[in-house]
Amino acid sequence: MIAVQNVNPLRAYFKKKKLGIYLLLIFFSIFFLLPVYVLIVTGLKSFKEVGLSNMWSIPLHATIAAFEKAFSKLAPHFINSLIITVPATLISALLGSLNGYILSKWKFKGANVIFVLILFGMFIPYQSVLIPLVQFMQVIGLYGKLGGLVLVHSIYGIPITTLIFRNYYAEVPDELLEAAYLDGQGILGVYRYIIFPISMPAFLVVFIWQFTNIWNEFLFAVTITQSPEQQPLTVALRNLAGSQIVEWNVQMAGAFLAAVPTLIIYVLLGKFFIRGLLAGSVKG
């Protein structure tokens, strides 16, 4: 396509350009990895050695004692986090999928208004509902139970999941549905046989997003759980710190460990995340 006689200098130019791009990328990578370095280096120090003034230096006597301590303290809470995050993610995803389907494909009167009203729920600040939320939890008997947190996260996850699915389904051509309808399927049948099977990319996006947000959430977790046995990872991590004297090495080691599950998900499924976006999940 490009004139042949320009190949050699062009190739050199592209090589230089490629090098430049890689250098830039490496530069940015340093920026992104800086905190990880601090996290790990601090986690490997002993309590006596750890401190702000030597934050950049490699530990003189590297020890995994902080990691061990953090791990032993955090392990039981890992299960709690799972019990809360997985069901809440699944429920909010399913509800979002159904809502998104109905609201994008079956335009009954007021569907758009309902969608907008649902969407608005995504934007509220959580602090403002904390006290009435707890009182309500008391009334329905779910306060202090992990199930209460599951309920809360499922409900507050509905707006974002609905948004993602609705935009995703908006791309599905109506003719597909028409065909099924003509075959005699009703509203639910169309969902089961047409919509649900093609929803995987959107489900993946929603899973990753919801899992991460719920896993890392702190405010609700700390207010709705009662005893330490129920506390999920985020709260336990905070408790590692202690209120007066902070063992920074344990804290940083713990922070690293707590991030590992979501990190793994991102590393393994990051590709799907982008593909899901590609499928038009979150468009304007």
Partner: protein
Amino acid sequence: MIRSKRDQRIGFAIVIPGFILLGIFVYGFIGWTLAVSFSGWEGILPNWDFMGLKNFISLFHSERFRIDLLNTFFFSILFLGFCVVLGFTLAMLLDKITGGEAIFRNIFLFPLAISFVVTGVVWRWIFNPTVGINALIKNLFGINIAWGWFTETKSFLGFNYALIPVVIAAGWQLTGYVMAMVLAGIRAIPIEVIESASIDGAGEFRKMTDIIIPIIKPVLFASLIILGHISLKIFDLVYTMTGSGTAFVTDFPSMYMFETTFQGHFYAEGSGISIIMLLLVAVVIVPYLYSVLKKEKA
């Protein structure tokens, strides 16, 4: 498109439960907060005396709150700008290379997986004016950065310089999201469109402005909405990273609300702040929602 009455009823039945739940958990609770914001509740015991707009008026007289609003404004603009510019740049860079894309992409994406609390703690260390990044650059390159980062109390026309490190930390966390979105958007552009532009002799820059940007505008727009509402509500990150800061240079309405409600027991005042936060969010979100509605009708 609903053909039968039966389908109509099923459609409603599916959507309504979630809607009712949200009705309680969102609108009901907001209503409660609204009621409290008009009351005189100050202290442990509820006090439902009607105070009219008194709480709101005293909020706007409060120096701290005025600073908070300015901080929210400046932070949001800078944060969104940071994420969009860097995210877009990273996406463009990643698009150009062939090998190693996965590694770089993971590096840029992983901060999304980390909780704000962790981010706040680490960046607080990094931006410590004496031993943090200043010390590192001094030791490595000999350059002396005599700047206090988030301890800086200077400001310019209401913009507190101390917000800059907070923007960087928040941007570090969420730029990957914009990058992912833009990358997805670019990859959706059919290759023929780009190639035909090359044949026409368009240089890199022209290609970018004329082809890529218009096509990914909706993608950018959606990220702005998501990031925008995060920036209006920002709490965990700033709480752990800087706190309110001396003279409230890094204070935000969410933190003021948290402290005044749970430490000061000023429930009415806290509720007032929540309502104003909601209104701020509404100002940004409602036009977006309205445009969504209008587009649907078309």
